[in-house]
């Protein structure tokens, strides 16, 4: 019996057969995958999960891939949940955790969504995988398409960081560099959808793709001993993963994987240089997210026209969370702070998350005993150039001759 029974519009509730589409014909709202809840209630259990593989596929029962399908996997997920005592000490938080999703196969959380998306697409007969991307998604799509032996087209803004372009190119996909920003790349891909028989991960197969995000929160709960934290800090690009994390908590409670009914506060993090969701959150009309032209070093979340922005603000408000934003300088400070205190090197989007965490902590948001988890979603080598341009040489660096004399003269120990 199939567990995924169709698609449902998040706005008007209209239902559709299972297919590669993402927009409601009735109201133009976004579509989500619908599961046979009765079936899931029978099969989902902690025990089944704990006996599963040490990857995000241990939560397969809660992902939109039927049991008969061969999944396309590189061992994504089940990344470390690090108790961040030294960072916590700086911020006055005794129960701070960092979910280190830089440890995924292509070093960002996108491996989770792409593993689901490509597994679904291959099982449904697609031969070409495509995406519009700010870099991380293209990196994951190129790698997983190679793994699956599928054709691949990735569409990226022409000004993407060189390190990201290199780590996409190595998998030999067709790369289309578009002279425009991410929102413009997206628009082009939306229009291309009609003339290509391709599975665009973040467009026509988004209802399935997005589901992969939930595993970050499933893992966090399991790694906390099947408990939910008090607050989760999540970077906001389109807001798509933020919404799925709320759904993940609903499922954890619904299927009795965690006890009680307390929902964590969901807090969103944006860069001020591209903060359409934050702008709306602090305005009188949080339900009106107005697009902006992105201008930030946090390119992986530089989405000026976020599809799920309104939902982010609703969820943040309903759960007692906030949406906060940080300056470019605070982003780099965030990267350095996490590296210096915990030995974790994150990209600019992670700098946004840690920057917001630090900003809120210093403003006295927490009394210090709360369990707070920060989702660090991409590796620092992806955006290492921002450290160079922001005075990357450490003030603790000295250059010496290869002699004992020079060492004694110049190095203080």
């Amino acid at each position: 019996m199939p567990k995924v029974i169709g698609l449902r519009c998040r706005e008007c509730g209209a239902e559709y057969e299972l297919q590669a589409t993402h927009v409601c014909e009735m109201c133009f709202g976004p579509l989500d995958a619908v599961y046979d809840q009765a079936l899931l209630k029978k099969v989902v259990s902690r025990q089944r999960i704990e006996q599963g593989p040490k990857s995000m596929w241990r939560y397969r029962d809660l992902l939109p891939i039927e049991d008969s399908v061969n999944v396309v996997t590189l061992g994504e997920g089940f990344t470390p949940l690090v108790k961040a005592d030294r960072l916590g000490a700086e911020l006055g938080l005794r129960n701070l955790y960092v979910k280190n999703d830089t440890m995924n196969p292509t070093n960002s959380f996108k491996d989770r969504v792409v593993s689901v998306a490509i597994s679904w697409a291959r099982a449904h007969g697609f031969e070409t995988i495509a995406c519009a991307s700010t870099g991380n998604l293209a990196n994951a799509v190129a790698a997983y398409a190679a793994r699956a032996g599928l054709e691949c087209f990735v569409f990226i803004p022409v000004d993407l960081e060189p390190a990201k372009v290199a780590s996409i190119s190595v998998f030999d996909p067709n790369i289309v560099a578009v002279r425009g920003n991410y929102d413009e790349v997206n628009r082009l891909c939306s229009q291309l959808l009609e003339s290509t028989p391709w599975a665009f991960c973040n467009i026509n197969i988004r209802p399935f793709y997005a589901e992969g995000s939930k595993t970050l929160t499933f893992e966090t709960a399991e790694q906390l001993g099947w408990k939910l934290p008090d607050e989760i800090i999540i970077p906001i690009g389109s807001g798509c993963q933020f919404v799925r994390h709320r759904q993940a908590v609903r499922e954890l409670l619904e299927f009795g994987l965690v006890r009680g009914d307390r929902v964590p506060a969901f807090t969103g993090a944006q860069a001020l240089g591209c903060a359409p969701v934050y702008n709306a959150f602090v305005s009188d009309t949080p339900d009106r997210v107005l697009p902006v032209k992105p201008n930030t070093i946090a390119k992986s979340i530089a989405i000026g026209n976020p599809s799920d922005g309104v939902y982010v603000n609703r969820i943040a408000r309903e759960t007692g969370g906030v949406v906060e934003a940080v300056t470019e300088e605070e982003i780099v400070d965030g990267i350095r702070l996490l590296a210096r205190t915990e030995g974790i090197f994150t990209e600019t989007a992670g700098g946004v998350t840690i920057g917001v965490l630090a900003k809120l902590a210093r403003a006295g948001r927490w009394n210090g005993d709360e369990t707070v988890v920060a989702y660090v979603t991409g590796h620092g080598l992806k955006t290492a150039d921002v450290l160079a341009s922001a005075n990357g040489h450490s003030s603790r660096r000295v250059e010496i001759e290869p002699t004992m004399k020079s060492f004694r003269e110049k190095v203080t120990i």
Binding site: P30, C131, R187, S307
Partner: protein, 91 residues
């Protein structure tokens, strides 16, 4: 005449037509004209306050109408193209 481009999933409403020519001088007028030809578009594109719905993007040629100073009041002329593009997730 200004022309609307209708994306695949929404073409049931336009009886399968990819493009629809409309007689109008601004974007709002174009939406009203589109709705007159194929009833249902206006309510789907605009909310009760007459603002563009959150999960719908409207492009006047290459520009998001929300980013055009005059917004939905933006003038449209003979050769202008208005595209409806559903919001997209990503990253």
């Amino acid at each position: 005449m200004p022309q609307f481009r209708i994306p695949g999933p929404l073409r049931r409403l336009s009886e399968g037509h990819t493009t629809v020519d409309v007689e109008a001088t601004d974007v709002v007028g174009a939406i009203v004209a589109l709705d007159a030809a194929y009833p249902g578009f206006k309510d789907r594109l605009l909310d009760e306050n007459g603002d563009l719905r959150q999960f719908v993007n409207l492009y006047l040629n290459d520009e998001d109408v929300r980013l055009v100073g005059s917004g939905l009041g933006a003038k449209v002329g003979e050769k202008d193209e208005i595209s409806i593009v559903p919001a997209v997730a990503g990253g």
